[in-house]
Amino acid sequence: MRLKTSDSLIGVAFITPAATLFLLLVAYPLFQSILISFSAINTMTLKGHYVGLANYLDILQDQEFWRTLVNTLIWTAGSLVLQVLLGVGFALLLHRAFPGRALARSLVLFPYLLSTAVAVLVWRWLFNDLYGILNYGLVHIGLIERPIAWLSRMPEAMISVILVGAWKFFPFVVIALLARLQTIPLQLYEAARIDGASAVARFWDITLPQLSGVLAVVVLLRSIWDFKEFDLVYLMTGGGPGIGTQTLPILVYREAFPQLHLGKGAAIAVVMLLVMLVFMLLYLRQSARGDER
């Protein structure tokens, strides 16, 4: 808008509070965390000194770091795949007209808005080895002989975390896909039906290609968010058994707080950010393209 050029001062005034908070609470901390990563600092006393690249070299030679990175990738990929499969399936089911659809949609979407702490409490109760209904049900129908300690054995612990992650986060995929499904022109389906295409063929030839754009964005966003997920994994298993389900955010927390190595924690966080930057830049580019359209 070009009503008056002089009022660009008002524009600057309006952005100032947001910009100040951004500089103070995001830009400066980000810069500082790079500085911290070059130092050895005790988290309690906050005393320390410059050590150059020592923290980074330390990480790269640390078996635990690599194991944790692999765990993070397993968790991210496993949970993401399930989220997409469940998301596509439920989006198609909930897109159809059926009695009570509004309520059904609310029930499916709700876990996404629920606090992760609550979701984990409920699931730890379901997974409980002595009184959990999951073990009871599985024993009852004869799938397992005796109750399993889901969260303190490998690979059960990783599988449990992935399942709960899928349950908690797949509604995001549903929300995104439902919005897109509404905009697919019905004529496409009518034409296909006249041509005698089966329901399966219509899904592969019409629905899926139409959804592919949103799906790409959703996969990008969810892989960023799953990769950095702390709450769900930490609260389910605390990273255990041993470091079996420890992911990078948990390692950052552990180094910096229980172990008081603030500098090493910061270095791991920086490495984590570098890995994520690839995905973040892809998403930024994608959304900038969407903006121009």
Binding site: S8, F98, F110, V118, W167, L221, Y283
Partner: protein, 284 residues
């Protein structure tokens, strides 16, 4: 003739079967939620009964009473209300001004500002965790609700800015111009024309900010270690870890209470749910 009727009947049966399958799957997904509610209403003895009762045989509110009168839960709840409300108010005012500025004014760095907003939105909390801890410590804001509010602006502000930006982008400029031709100042036009028009966007940004802050765990865990400044998520987890004999019915009652504000927000949000998608709906 009868062949056509049989075909119609077959179609109808298929449809009913599909409807039933859908509902069965939906209920399976929602089962943990029902189980949470059921457990919170059962007497303690029934909680550990085998076989488990799907629907409580006896309904009791004793766990809610215990929670409210014999645990620090009310303190955590109040702290969460203060932090989530404070974050929401701060973030909405700042983001509304910022979003309006980014959309309606031309100045250098405007595009960069928009990109920075999105970048910040994707930034992992754990990267900001350590330096924010240092900053809050140096300001004496560790173990304070204000400190947590400041920390929460790092995710609530970019989210609200992005959501409100797309809202204002979609608003026609004519009304503002007409108001200004009639002699209103820029600020008056903003307050009298833009704010009322952006109200649906403001409401959904506010509800999302509230939910994000209400649910946040990591910053709350690290920054507020003392009981009187703890918020609900770390507070309730402490309750889980403190007792050797976990009182699941008490924890489920706490979970239900934590979910109530989210349910209320969700009811208001439903129609706006997809509008939040521009900014990725809710942070994962």
């Amino acid at each position: 003739m009868s062949g056509r009727r049989a075909l119609r009947l077959r179609r109808r049966l298929l449809r009913v079967a599909a409807d039933l399958t859908t509902w069965a799957l939906v209920l399976a997904v929602a089962f943990p939620l029902f189980w949470m509610l059921g457990t919170s209403l059962k007497p303690s003895a029934e909680t550990f009964a085998l076989p488990p009762t799907l629907i409580p045989a006896h309904v009791t509110f004793e766990h809610f009473r215990t929670l409210l009168f014999e645990t620090p839960f009310p303190t955590y709840f109040l702290n969460s209300v203060i932090v989530a409300t404070g974050t929401t108010l701060l973030v909405i005012v700042v983001s509304l001004l910022g979003a309006y500025s980014v959309v309606r004014f031309r100045y250098r760095g405007r595009r960069l500002a928009a990109q920075m907003v999105l970048f910040t939105y994707l930034l992992p909390a754990v990267v900001l965790l350590l330096p924010l801890y240092l900053i809050l410590a140096s300001l004496g804001l560790v173990n304070s609700l204000l400190g947590l509010i400041l920390a929460y602006t790092t995710f609530a502000m970019p989210f609200s800015l992005w959501l409100l930006r797309s809202f204002i982008l979609a608003m026609p400029i004519d009304l503002e111009e007409a108001a200004m031709v009639d002699g209103a100042s820029r600020v008056e036009a903003f307050l009298d024309v833009v704010v009322p028009q952006a109200l649906p966007g403001i409401i959904s940004a506010a509800l999302f900010s509230f939910i994000l802050s209400w649910n946040e765990y990591l910053y709350a865990l690290v920054f507020n270690r003392q009981d009187h400044t703890k918020t609900l998520p770390p507070g309730v987890i402490t309750m889980l870890q403190q007792n050797t004999n976990t009182e699941w019915s008490l924890l489920m009652a706490a979970s239900v209470m934590m979910a109530v504000p989210v349910i209320v927000a969700f009811v208001f949000l439903q129609r706006h749910l997809t509008s939040g998608f521009g900014a990725g709906a809710v942070k994962g």
